[in-house]
């Protein structure tokens, strides 16, 4: 079976979630890789949420908010934009491909655009392959070198 990425997406209640809903009610088909979490505003998306999603096994994270100037709370989406940019710089430093984190503006009427975005992101991540962040970060993962370390250590413990 080919690799299907898991994409955690945070959609703002006022524009993007409604947009995604429109895609559904209009019976548009889009990639089932997207797992939607509704938040009140894209400004609510704390960098912790994104990092946690990656840590728990997401291959990509998609944040959607209202178009600039349209935020229900005036400037939540701008805050999100700034956090996204800083966060992107950070995840690049940590060795996570920045294509795995996206911020897009989807209005309530843009069901079609949302469906296209979902398909496009799923395709990008399919080509990138699994992120494997969870496996890589689990302590004492069963790789060769770690096993060797553990064995030597066990012998030492027994010797003492």
């Amino acid at each position: 079976m080919s690799f299907e990425p898991k994409i955690v997406s945070f959609l703002c209640n006022w524009c993007s979630y409604t947009g995604a809903d429109l895609a559904g009610t209009s019976r548009m088909k889009y990639a089932a890789n997207i797992r939607i979490i509704r938040v009140m505003c894209s400004g609510r998306v704390d960098p912790t949420f994104v990092l946690k999603a990656f840590r728990e096994g997401a291959d990509g994270v998609l944040i959607c908010g209202c178009h600039p100037g349209d935020c229900h709370y005036h400037e939540g989406n701008y805050k999100c934009l700034r956090r996204y940019k800083l966060l992107t710089k950070y995840i690049k430093q940590m060795g996570i491909d920045d294509k795995r984190l996206r911020l897009e503006w989807i209005s309530a009427s843009e069901g079609k655009q949302f469906a296209e975005l979902a398909n496009e992101m799923a395709e990008t991540l399919r080509n990138l392959g699994p992120a494997n962040i969870k496996d890589k970060l689990d302590f004492f993962q069963k790789t060769k070198s770690v096993n060797e370390d553990e064995n030597v250590e066990k012998e030492k413990m027994e010797a003492i």
């Binding site: 946690k52 600039p68 956090r83 800083l86 710089k89 950070y90 996570i96 030597v152």
Partner: protein, 326 residues
């Protein structure tokens, strides 16, 4: 030990260092003349930096023999891990003492590299190293006199709680000696201790709550400066001047010493209770303050934050969500 203390047995205390600089052990000595109170109330049964104990002395102790262990330093190799496990077994209360034991600390920044990269730099490339035979340390090495052993060097630096169960955390680089004394006296006097696994000797509120610098509610930053690029006016909030200060994402308790000394907070006291990941909290806070709404302008401002990962996770990389470079 002495006769006058018969009714109240002396506390047995151990101090040990893992991957640490030794500053935490020195901070224990920084109690100055209060050291007499400490010694009157406690026997130091194991403290390799100051007193001559051997690992076999520790191994010979019965389980739960030590009342309090202050473990400073991160877990870098199998020796650190072995002694941490041994001390856990022999101690009633295990305290992760200092930033390194708490969240990885400065040695934890090695998680930006792999073991191979570190060895290559240290044993082959560093300017002061002559190693034409390309010799690397081996955990086991046979010579004609017998087998030689070295601890196994791990790929990752870990905070103490990844290898043993930790009762309390006393953060700081090093922890403020006054905080240690408070905690120590509380244990000696038999006061009720906070719930297990909590951070002691630090406040729940952030540095900003303690800081006396002038602050406005809506901070706006047009340009970030590194501390040497700007002349600090000595009274305005560092962030408002454009200098990154970890105050918003760091517990209070240190007495804002760095800020009082006109240096921005670097975050050694770790994150406040509501945010597990100090860097994420800090990124969130700093990004909010950036005074720009246009893509290009934001990019330009963020360009001045040269090393977000190293700056925001200076003391906490191994204890953070993405705990190493992938």
């Amino acid at each position: 030990m002495t006769t006058e203390n018969k009714e109240k047995p002396k506390l047995k205390m151990a101090v040990y260092w893992g991957a640490a600089c030794g500053g935490c052990c020195v901070s224990v000595l920084d109690v100055h003349e209060k050291l007499f109170d400490v010694v009157a109330a406690a026997d130091l049964v194991f403290w390799p930096i100051a007193l001559d104990f051997k690992y076999k002395d520790l191994e010979a102790m019965p389980d739960g023999h030590i009342d309090v262990t202050l473990f400073n330093g991160a877990i870098r190799n199998s020796e650190n891990k072995y002694i941490a496990m041994l001390l856990r077994q022999k101690s009633k209360i295990m305290v992760a003492y200092g930033s390194c034991a708490h969240m990885g600390g400065i040695p934890g920044l090695a998680n930006f590299s792999t073991k191979e990269e570190l060895f290559k730099r240290v044993y082959f490339e560093s300017e002061s190293t002559l190693n034409s035979e390309k010799i690397l340390p081996e955990p086991d090495f046979k010579v004609k006199e017998g087998d030689l052993e070295l601890p196994v060097f791990y790929n990752d630096v870990m905070p103490l709680n990844k290898v043993v169960c930790v009762d309390y955390y006393l953060p700081g680089c090093p922890p403020q000696t006054e905080r240690l004394l408070e905690v120590f006296m509380a244990i000696v006097n038999g006061s009720e201790l906070p719930s297990k696994k909590s951070v002691i000797g630090a406040y729940d509120k952030t540095q900003c709550d303690e800081c006396e610098r002038k602050k406005t509610d809506n901070k706006k930053i047009k340009k970030f400066y590194r501390p040497w690029e700007i002349e600090d006016d000595g009274e305005t909030c560092f962030l408002e001047q454009g200098v990154i200060c970890m105050g918003p994402a760091t517990r209070g308790g240190c007495g804002v010493r760095c800020i009082k000394g006109n240096a921005p907070c670097r975050g050694c006291y770790g994150p406040p209770p509501d945010s597990p990941d100090p860097g994420a909290k800090m990124m969130s806070a700093v990004a909010t303050m950036i005074d720009a709404n246009e893509d290009v302008e934001i990019d330009k401002i963020i360009e001045d934050i040269v090393d977000p990962a190293g700056t925001f996770y200076r003391f906490s990389l191994p204890g953070s969500i993405i705990r190493r470079k992938l």
